[in-house]
């Protein structure tokens, strides 16, 4: 029992250690900083946004225009309907920071369960699950999203379902590989001898020890999911308007990009900076984990 009691504390210790180590990688810190910035913006959106994101102020205002009625400056201008772009970017960060982690989280839950089942039990579980995964992965992902969302309609729930369906097999492959390696360790044999259930062994013995590569993968994948949500919005398949959604903002303003480039450039810069944050953080974590 003692070593079970020790496991959680040592894993928190390891997590704290890698956070401390991350300080040494300026790339990782830069990425964490970018993410933190957007998380804070999303958290304090009601305080930070100067206007209601749906309020109609002054159509086609260029960045820095003074809005006479309220006496405020529209720092990033307004869109074709006259809505303040800064406020829409700020509120839009909530949309992406809710749906991207939610979708990635769901994909991880499904992927981890499938991967553990395939890698730990092996046998026909492995054959069936791997085959299903291969089939889904051999099909272009974006096409899958588009067909699912075009058929069932664009909503936050459907976006989460589509992303879970398409990303879970990739996560399953990684978890399966790790589980195939970890299942032969002594501590797994020890807990099998102790008579633990296979559910307990998968969740308590194998999963915590597979966390390193999974955390790095989660960062990269979050970046991809943010891109995907942006792309779906850009193709007109994202959250239904008038919700402020970065990809959707680009889609709405696309036809006017020639005369009013700020309407498309600003949301594009926002989405790129957030994805960059996750990719840099993943790089930093990878660098730190190699140093151990």
């Amino acid at each position: 029992m003692t070593d079970i009691a020790k496991t959680p504390s040592s894993s928190t210790g390891a997590a704290l250690r890698s956070i401390a180590l991350l300080r040494e990688s300026w790339i990782g810190m830069l990425g964490a900083g970018l993410i933190l910035f957007w998380v804070l913006v999303a958290l304090f959106a009601p305080l930070l946004a100067p206007h209601d994101p749906l309020a109609i102020l002054q159509p086609f205002a260029k960045p820095g225009t003074l809005h006479a009625a309220s006496g405020t400056t529209l720092w990033l201008g307004a869109d074709n309907l006259g809505r303040d772009i800064l406020s829409r970017i700020i509120w839009g960060s909530r949309t992406v920071l809710i749906y991207a982690p939610l979708a990635t989280g769901c994909a991880y839950v499904v992927g981890i369960i499938m991967g553990l089942a395939a890698g730990y039990h092996r046998g026909w579980w492995d054959t069936v699950l791997s085959r299903i995964g291969d089939i889904i992965l051999s099909f272009p992902v974006l096409v899958l999203y588009i067909i699912v969302i075009a058929t069932f309609g664009a909503s936050g729930f459907n976006i989460v379902i589509a992303i879970t369906f398409a990303s879970a097999p990739g996560i399953m492959r990684i978890v399966r590989g790790l589980a195939l390696d970890l299942r032969n360790r002594d501590y797994v044999a020890a807990s099998q001898t102790r008579g633990e259930t296979s559910f307990y062994i998968m969740m308590v013995e194998i999963l915590p020890n597979a966390r390193g590569p999974l955390i790095v993968d989660a960062c990269v994948r979050l970046g991809y999911v943010i891109i995907t949500i942006g792309v779906l919005g850009f193709l007109g398949l994202g959250l239904p308007p008038p919700n402020p959604d970065w990809g959707g903002m680009v889609n709405e303003a696309r036809g006017m990009a020639m005369i009013f480039p700020h309407m498309t450039l600003i949301p594009c810069a926002a989405i790129s900076s957030l994805v960059l944050g996750f990719n840099l953080l993943a790089d930093g974590l990878r660098e730190v984990s190699l140093r151990d």
Binding site: I27, R131, D134, I135, S138, F139, P140, V141, L142, V143, I146, I147, V148, A150, T151, G223, I227, G230, V231, F234, L235, G247, V250, R254, A257, M258, P261, T264, L265, C268, A269, I271, S272, V275, L276, N279, L280, D283
Partner: protein
Amino acid sequence: MLILIAKRIGFMVMTMVAVSILLFLVLEISPGSVATKVLGQYASDEQKNIWLEQHGYFEPLWYRYGVWAGNFMTGELGVSHRFKVPVGDIMWPRLWNTAVLGFWTFALIIPASLILGVLAGMREGSKLDRAISITSVLTTSIPEFASAVFLSAIFVFGLKWLPGTSGMINGFDPTQLILPVMVLFLYDFGYVARMTRASMAEVMTTPYIRTAILKGLPYRQVIVKHALRNALIAPFTVIMLQLNWLLSGVIVVEFFFAYKGFGALLLEASLNQDIFVIEACAMVAVFVAVATQTIADIGYTYLNPRIRFS
């Protein structure tokens, strides 16, 4: 080798069957909405029913799937609801256009990412390595629609050097290819460059490279004769797998630049529930995916004899 190919063909057939059944189930769940998409929102129920009956929608699902599958085997792909022409007439020219786009993209990605990746991996941690690594993270972090917006702002609206759309209305125009190729290049080259760098960096730490350097061979010879050959095995696989990625990557780019390619066709068909076009495109996509994977595997065993003995 023959066993591998036979296995892959088996897998391809299995995948095609699974994907086509799944698509049929998803797309034919509500035939009423198909009729609405074809006839418009203001069509009466009676008109919709006539259309549905004419197109065999009152037959059971398994029967319609059987008819489609039978026709597919004989090369008969059906008629598009959306474009009102046989699917083949519209799909093959579109596929060719995308192949042209893909050819130029890969003609740039392969040399650029291999050269940069090898240079970065040769001296891990050097300033050049850092610069190349950061550039590739930056370019892969910018979604395709965003880099399309950025590049259009610079080259179309700012400098006015390039056309902003690539519809090729007045015949083939190479200048209209430049922006789509640039966007695809930017998004994808970073990944291949990083894989090449990792592979090169790994080779550079092996004992036989150390031996070659220590016995006094010129550095250039060590790189060209000893390191490169082994370092380029992994990128070969990565590049082959990127071909599959290209099929979904082109959707955004073709939509943005109004390029008449495979991705734009697939998008339009999906938005209009044009089942026969979607099925045919999906079969092409599965074929490309499995074929590139197989070529990658065969190439890998050919390039790396160790695999054959293990």
